[in-house]
Amino acid sequence: MSDNKVSSWVAQFRRGQSAKAYPPAVSLLLVSPLIALLFIGFVYPVARLVELSFANGAEPYVRLVKGDLYIGVLTDTIVISAAVAALCLFLGYPVALAMARLKRRAALLVTACVIVPLWTSVLIRSYAWVVLLQRNGLVNDLLQTTGLSDGPLRLLYTQGAVVLAMTHVLLPFAILPIQATLRSLPADLTRAASNLGATPIRAFVLITLPLSLPGVFAGTLLCFVLALGFYITPALVGGPGSMMMATLIGQQTLVVLDWPFAAALSTLLLTVSLLLVAVFRRALAQSKGFSSAH
């Protein structure tokens, strides 16, 4: 790169012919720290991990497919993630509808109830579930005082506990995209339906629900993808019997120290997540910006 060229870019930049556009060279200069950061902290490490998975040929992948234990973990992960996504949809839709329909103060209250957990660390929320579900925890106390169970039940370290806690953690990620779609629907549509004599239920089923499906799809898919790679909650709330992909990766790196196998598992998880997002990129675009914090 000649000095001459650089100084002409500098001159071009300072003249600022059109206020809107930085020329390509300046724009690239502005994003260069981001690109450097992403290369060092994201692209290179992930590429190294994928490379490591092929260090012994396809051996880790063969083991992954052959071992019943690992296939079991894979199916468990998919089943748990699907259950969590479905629960998030069914519990989240009414809340999203309330957020979109309620008047100012009530809407603010509902929004606060959704945003506060979103900005409470996943660790703290998992801890709360550990305490609530443990043997002498509040849920067991409640079950015994109401007579629903005779003795303390084993609630913690079960798949049910994992589903419950993960649903809690991921619920805001379903609510927010659905709420955004519902809010963008013109209120005239339901009003027109009711003026034409539709009952509120009919108006909802025929007008609101079909029009909100893009948000429903985006929110549910987002929950599913995030659930597939979830680590902290299943590690704390789940027991050895409710292993998921992420906790298996953690165990292979921290306890078994089988790095090529952990790398193969990571590559598989990475491929599935990226494929799902790439295929449904357009649908997910509406939930962009809410998709970090796990």
Partner: protein
């Protein structure tokens, strides 16, 4: 069925037709049921965040309701335990540096994305969103793999790299939004009055997008401070984030000190989030007035 019954009364209020005689009040089972469901879900959402407060004040080590006696012992234990304090201060340091780095890198990128003729824009945007999609456990393991031989695990540099990757999108999103709200004619006017591009950035663009930058900085700070998965994998014995410390204690040594620590963290986080929302909402209301 008479039509009166089927019309939503709220729709009647808003419609332009002359007001009708209000129908006699009768209980509406459906909205009551809806409100009940929404209330239960909201209770489910908020309960784990709220329950840590009585947990941290309860004298007995397991939670009973109502609490047997109140105590501040767990807070005293938190503030006098060198391990907790060291990890809290380390996480604060990481979050401050991460917030600073993310704010600078993210603002520069947002400028290029919104105001620049950026080549490969789609590819760069996709790459910037990448860390949000990749499972954090994969990123954590990958970073550990690269950092361990370089002795970067447990170091400020290691955490700074890992957390900035995860926090930058928050700044890019908030600054992009405030740049898109800013009328390019203002910058054009500055240029017409003879300002260089740098002058127009300093005197026109920067003051106008400052609220977006500030909100992004707060979000980046919290995203780093609350981040648990990547921090879990790149911590070591000497350099432990508060997340790693909490994880270990929940796993091996379940004491109400964790509840006290959580309450402190949640209270501080919520104050920061409140400030960030105030900044961004006051900024958007100001643009509306203009």
């Amino acid at each position: 069925m008479p039509i009166d019954q089927t019309i939503d009364p709220r729709a009647q209020e808003r419609s332009l037709s002359p007001p009708r005689v209000p129908a006699p009040w009768r209980p509406r089972p459906l909205p009551v049921l809806c409100a009940l469901i929404v209330g239960l879900v909201l209770f489910f959402l908020i309960l784990p965040t709220v329950i840590i407060v009585p947990m941290s004040l309860n004298a007995s080590s397991h939670l009973t309701f109502p609490p047997s006696a109140l105590t501040l012992d767990w807070y005293r234990a938190f503030f006098s335990d060198p391990d907790w304090i060291a990890s809290t201060l380390f996480s604060l340091k990481i979050a401050l540096w991460t917030s600073l780095a993310s704010t600078i890198i993210g603002t520069m990128s947002a400028l290029a994305i919104v105001r620049g003729e950026l080549p490969f824009k789609a590819a760069i945007q996709a790459m910037a969103i990448g860390p949000m999609i990749v499972p954090h456990v994969v990123l954590g393991v990958a970073l550990y793999l690269v950092f361990a031989p370089l002795e970067l695990t447990g170091s400020l540099t290691g955490f700074l790299i890992g957390h900035t990757v995860l926090s930058v999108p928050f700044v890019v999103i908030t600054v992009t939004a405030s740049l898109q709200r800013l009328d390019p004619a203002l910058e054009l006017a500055a240029a017409n009055c003879g300002a260089t591009r740098l002058q127009s950035f300093i005197h026109v663009t920067f003051p106008n997008i400052l609220p977006g930058i500030a909100a992004g900085a707060v979000f980046a700070f919290l995203a780093s401070f609350d981040e648990a998965t990547v921090a879990f994998f790149i911590s070591d014995i000497d350099g432990k984030s508060i997340g790693r410390k909490m994880f270990e204690d929940i796993d091996f040594n379940l004491t109400p000190v964790i509840a006290a620590a959580s309450t402190v963290v949640v209270a501080a986080s919520l104050c920061l989030i409140g400030i960030a929302h105030l900044i961004s909402s006051s900024a958007s209301s100001r643009t509306k007035q203009e």
